[in-house]
C-alpha cells in the first residue's frame, strides 16, 4: 500500500472509530463533548485528505499511477475472486476531500444546531446518538468513495442508506419523521433491487467485480459479436444495456431521480444539518458518483435513458420548487433539480461537467442548507418563508452567505470572462456538451469534449481510462447511435430550466431576507449563533474559491478516454461560455429580475397570479401528484390484485373445488371425508407434523436406560456395517 492509500484508508476509518466510541461511551461523554469527538474525528480525516490533495497535486502522471497498489485478495466466489483496494485517482481524491471538508463544517454547525434542539426522548439524551450516526455516515460515505469494486460499493451504498434512514428518523417520536424515514428506505430499496440484479449480471456475464476489471471485460465482451452480452434482451435492448440500466437503478433511488424522487422532500424531516450533509451534499450525489464509476458499462441506449431521467427530474424539481413555501422544501426540490442536471450531464457524455457540478453543488447546497438551518433555528423552528422577510437586519452573515449560494446555483458570472461562481462553469459545461451532442460538432467553435472523431462516442470508449487515457476503439462496434444526434429536447429543456432556477432561488432568498418583516414575532426573536456562522463563512469561501481552480482539473484527469481533450485549459472553457452566452449567459439576470419584480412588494402579486393560474398552481403545489399517484397505483393496485385473486378464488378455485368435492362425495361417499382431511390438511400440516412426530420418536429412543443404549448401539453398528458393505462393496 502506498502512503497515499494508507492516508485515505486511515481517513476513512477514523470516523468509524469515533462511531464506536460514541456508540459505547457516548452517553458518558455528554452533551457538547460527544459532538466535539465526532467533529475532531472528521476534522482529522479532512486534514489527512487535504494532505493527500496537496501531495497529489505535486505528482506527475507516472507518480500518480505508481501510487496505486494492487488490491488485496479477500475471497473467492465460485471462480470470481473478490479483491479489495483503494480506488486511488483524481476523482476519488477530489470527492474525498469535498466530503471530509463539507462534513467537518457541518459537524461544527451541528453542535450549534443541536444545542438549541431538545434531544431528549424518555428523559434520556440522544445527543451522542446523533453524532454517532453522523460518524457512521462519514465512514460509510468515505468507504463508498474509495471502494474499488462493485461489491464494496454496494456494501457502503447500503450503509449510507442505513445512516440516512436512521438520521431522517432521528426524531422518531414524530410520526411524520418516522414515516419519512420508512419512505426513504423503501423507495431506495426499489432502486437497490435493480442494483443487486445489475451486480448479479456483472457477476454472471463479466465475472469480475472490480471496477477496472469489469470495465475491461465489458469492453472485450462488447467487442465480440457472439458474446452473451450482445444478445437481445427484453424490450429490444441487448443484455449489455440492461446490465448498465439495472446498475443505474441504484443511482435513481439514491440520487432521487424520476420516478423514485419522492423520498427526498420528505427526508427533510430530519435535522437540518443532516439535510445539508446527506440529502444535499454527499449521499444523494453518490448516485451520480456511481454512474461516473460505471460510465464505461453504459451503452448509448442506457445513456439515453440516463439523460432522459435526468431531464425529466431537473424539470420536475425546478417547477415544483417555484411554489414551495417551506424553505427546506424549496432547497430539497432544487437539489432534485440539480441532481437531474448531473444525471443529464452523465447521459449526454458530459462526464467531467457532471462531476464538476457535483463538487461545486455540494459546497453551495450545503451552504444554503446550513443557512436555512440558521434561519429555522433563529426563528424558533419557523420554516415557512411566507412568514419571514426582512431577516437581513437580524442575520446579516447568513443573508450574505446565502446570497453567495443563490448566485452559485443560478450560475452567476460575467459572460465572456472566467469570472463566476460554481454553477457558472459546471452547469454551463453540461449544457455545452448537450448542445454539441444534439447539433453535432463543427457548428461550434468549442469542442469541449474532443468529439472530433465520429467513433469517439461512449460505445467505442469502453476501454477504461482510470489513469491512462488509453483510447481503444473496438472495431466493428460503432453503433449507429454512437454519433447520432440526441433529441433536441435534451438541450432545450435544461436551458429553459436554467431560467427557472435563478427565479425560485431568488424568490426564496428575497422572501426570507429582504422586504418587510411579515411576522413580527418571528422577526423579533431572530438571531445568529456564532458556532453556526463560522461554517457558513467557510463554506461560502469554499464556494467562491474551490470550484474552478481545484476540482475540475482533478476530475478531468480521470475521465474515460475519448470524452475530452486530455488537457483542459481556461481557454477552452472560455470558448464554451462564449458560444453559449447568447442562450444562457443572462439567464440568472432574467430569473433574478423576474423574482424581485414579483416579490418586491410582498406576496400579493404572486398570489394573484397563482389564482389566475389555479390548475397549474395546484398541480405544482401537489408536486405533480406523485405521492397520490403512487398511493393509488401501489396501494390501490394491491387492493385490485387482492380483489382479482379473491374473485379468482371464489369463481375458479371454488368452482373446481366444489365440483371436485361434489364428485368425490358421489364417487366415494365413504372415504370422502377421510380424503379431504388426509390429503388437503395433510399436505399442509403433514410435513410439519411428521417432523414433529419423528422428533418425538427420536427422543423416545433415549429412555435413560444404559443397558438399552448398549443394545441399540450394538444393533445399530451391525446394521450400519451391513448397509455400508452392501451399498459400497
Amino acid at each position: 500500500m502506498s502512503s497515499l492509500e494508507l492516508m485515505l484508508l486511515a481517513a476513512t476509518v477514523i470516523p468509524l472509530g469515533s462511531f464506536l466510541l460514541l456508540a459505547l461511551a457516548g452517553a458518558r461523554l455528554g452533551k457538547p463533548l460527544a459532538g466535539w469527538v465526532a467533529t475532531a474525528a472528521i476534522a482529522a480525516s479532512c486534514v489527512l485528505s487535504g494532505l493527500v490533495v496537496v501531495r497529489w497535486q505535486g505528482m506527475d502522471a507516472a507518480a500518480r499511477a505508481a501510487a496505486r497498489s494492487a488490491p488485496v485478495p479477500w475471497t473467492v466466489l465460485g471462480d470470481v475472486p473478490l479483491e479489495v483496494g483503494v480506488n486511488l485517482d483524481g476523482l476519488t481524491v477530489a470527492v474525498f476531500f469535498m466530503v471530509t471538508f463539507v462534513s467537518t463544517w457541518i459537524h461544527v454547525f451541528s453542535i450549534g444546531y443541536m444545542a438549541g434542539h431538545s434531544d431528549e426522548i424518555d428523559g434520556r439524551s440522544k445527543f451522542h446518538r446523533f453524532f454517532a450516526f453522523l460518524s457512521l455516515f462519514c465512514f460509510s460515505m468515505l468507504g463508498l468513495v474509495i471502494a474499488d469494486s462493485l461489491v464494496l460499493t454496494f456494501v457502503f451504498w447500503e450503509l449510507v442508506g442505513l445512516c440516512s434512514y436512521l438520521l431522517i428518523g432521528f426524531y422518531f417520536h414524530k410520526p411524520s419523521a418516522s414515516a419519512a424515514a420508512i419512505k426513504a428506505f423503501v423507495v431506495n430499496r426499489v432502486g437497490d433491487m435493480g442494483f443487486i440484479l445489475g451486480l448479479g449480471m456483472v457477476f454472471w456475464f463479466l465475472g469480475d467485480l472490480s471496477l477496472a476489471g469489469a470495465a475491461r471485460r465489458f469492453a472485450e465482451a462488447c467487442g465480440d459479436p457472439g458474446s452473451a452480452l450482445r444478445q437481445a434482451g427484453p424490450l429490444g435492448l441487448d443484455m449489455a444495456t440492461w446490465l448498465g440500466l439495472l446498475l443505474f437503478c441504484g443511482a435513481v433511488g439514491k440520487s432521487a431521480q424520476f420516478p423514485l424522487h419522492v423520498w427526498l422532500p420528505d427526508a427533510m424531516e430530519g435535522p437540518t444539518p443532516v439535510s445539508a450533509l446527506i440529502h444535499a451534499a454527499t449521499m444523494v450525489a453518490a448516485g451520480v458518483y456511481l454512474v461516473a464509476r460505471i460510465f464505461v458499462l453504459l451503452t448509448p441506449q442506457a445513456l439515453l435513458v440516463v439523460a432522459g431521467a435526468g431531464c425529466i427530474t431537473l424539470t420536475l424539481g425546478a417547477l415544483v420548487a417555484v411554489v414551495q413555501t417551506d424553505i427546506k422544501k424549496v432547497l430539497a426540490y432544487s437539489t432534485i433539480s440539480q441532481l437531474g442536471y448531473m444525471m443529464l450531464g452523465m447521459g449526454v457524455g458530459a462526464w467531467i461537467g457532471a462531476l464538476f457540478h457535483l463538487l461545486t453543488h455540494a459546497f453551495f447546497k450545503a451552504l444554503m442548507f446550513l443557512g436555512s438551518g440558521q434561519v429555522i433555528e433563529g426563528c424558533h423552528h419557523e420554516q415557512d418563508i411566507r412568514r419571514m422577510g426582512g431577516l437581513w437586519r437580524r442575520m446579516p452573515v447568513t443573508c450574505a452567505t446565502f446570497l453567495i449560494g443563490v448566485l452559485a446555483i443560478a450560475g452567476a458570472g460575467i459572460p465572456g470572462t472566467s469570472v463566476g461562481l460554481g454553477g457558472f462553469f459546471s452547469k454551463d459545461e453540461i449544457l455545452a456538451v448537450a448542445y454539441s451532442r444534439v447539433y453535432g460538432d463543427g457548428t461550434h467553435g468549442a469542442r469541449p469534449h474532443g468529439s472530433a472523431a465520429p467513433a469517439a462516442g461512449p460505445w467505442a470508449m469502453t476501454e477504461t481510462g482510470h489513469r491512462s487515457a488509453l483510447t481503444h476503439a473496438v472495431p466493428g462496434v460503432e453503433h449507429a447511435q454512437a454519433s447520432a444526434p440526441l433529441p433536441a429536447l435534451l438541450f432545450w429543456v435544461p436551458v429553459i430550466v436554467a431560467y427557472i432556477t435563478p427565479f425560485y432561488m431568488m424568490r426564496c432568498w428575497w422572501l426570507t431576507f429582504m422586504g418587510r418583516p411579515r411576522d413580527d414575532h418571528v422577526h423579533a426573536h431572530a438571531r445568529e449563533s456564532a458556532l453556526m456562522v463560522v461554517p457558513l463563512v467557510v463554506l461560502a469561501a469554499g464556494t467562491l474559491v474551490c470550484g474552478l481552480v481545484l476540482f475540475r482539473p482533478l476530475v478531468a484527469e480521470v475521465a474515460p478516454a475519448g470524452l475530452l481533450a486530455p488537457t483542459v485549459d481556461g481557454h477552452e472553457l472560455h470558448e464554451v461560455h462564449h458560444a453559449l452566452m447568447p442562450i444562457v449567459g443572462g439567464a440568472f439576470v432574467v430569473g433574478f429580475a423576474v423574482a424581485i419584480a414579483l416579490y418586491a412588494r410582498g406576496l400579493s402579486l404572486a398570489a394573484a397570479i397563482a389564482r389566475r393560474l389555479r390548475p397549474l398552481h395546484r398541480l405544482l403545489e401537489h408536486k405533480f401528484y406523485f405521492d397520490e399517484l403512487y398511493g393509488l397505483v401501489l396501494v390501490g393496485g394491491t387492493h385490485l390484485l387482492k380483489g382479482l385473486c379473491d374473485l379468482f378464488d371464489r369463481i375458479v378455485v371454488d368452482g373446481i373445488v366444489d365440483a371436485l368435492s361434489a364428485s368425490t362425495v358421489r364417487l366415494a361417499r365413504f372415504s370422502g371425508r377421510d380424503l379431504d382431511e388426509r390429503v388437503v390438511d395433510g399436505a399442509v400440516n403433514g410435513v410439519g407434523r411428521t417432523t414433529w412426530e419423528l422428533g418425538g420418536a427420536a427422543g423416545s429412543l433415549q429412555t435413560g436406560r444404559i443397558r438399552l443404549y448398549i443394545l441399540l448401539a450394538a444393533g445399530g453398528v451391525t446394521a450400519m456395517v451391513w448397509l455400508a458393505l452392501a451399498a459400497g462393496g
Partner: protein, 103 residues
C-alpha cells in the same frame, strides 16, 4: 485333537467377546456391566498375545496386551469411583434406577 492352534485362541477370544457383550446388556448391576467390559478387553488380550506368538512379529502383540491391561485397570478404578458416587445418591448400583436423564 492335536496341538492347540491359533484358531483355538481366536475362537476363545470370540467367545469371550460375545459373553462380555451379553453380560453388559443383561446385567443390571453396574459392577456386572464392568465385568462384561473386562471380558471383552480380555478377549482382545487373548487375540493380541495369540497373534503375537503365532505370527511372529517380535513382542508387539504382548506389549500391546500389556497396554490394554493397564487401560482396563485404570478404567476399572475410574468406574468404581463413579459407582461409589452414584451409590451415595441412590444407595444402589442398579443401572436401571438411573433414568432421571432421558428424552
Amino acid at each position: 485333537m492335536g496341538s492347540i492352534t491359533l484358531m483355538h485362541y481366536l475362537v476363545l477370544g470370540a467367545l469371550l467377546f460375545c459373553c462380555g457383550l451379553l453380560t453388559m446388556v443383561v446385567k443390571r448391576n453396574a459392577v456386572g456391566i464392568l465385568i462384561g467390559v473386562e471380558l471383552v478387553l480380555n478377549a482382545a488380550n487373548v487375540n493380541l498375545v495369540a497373534f503375537g506368538r503365532y505370527r511372529g512379529a517380535g513382542i508387539d502383540g504382548q506389549a500391546a496386551a500389556l497396554f490394554v491391561i493397564v487401560l482396563a485397570a485404570a478404567e476399572a478404578a475410574v468406574a468404581i469411583a463413579i459407582f461409589m458416587n452414584f451409590y451415595r445418591h441412590l444407595t444402589t448400583v442398579d443401572v436401571d434406577r438411573g433414568d432421571l436423564l432421558r428424552g
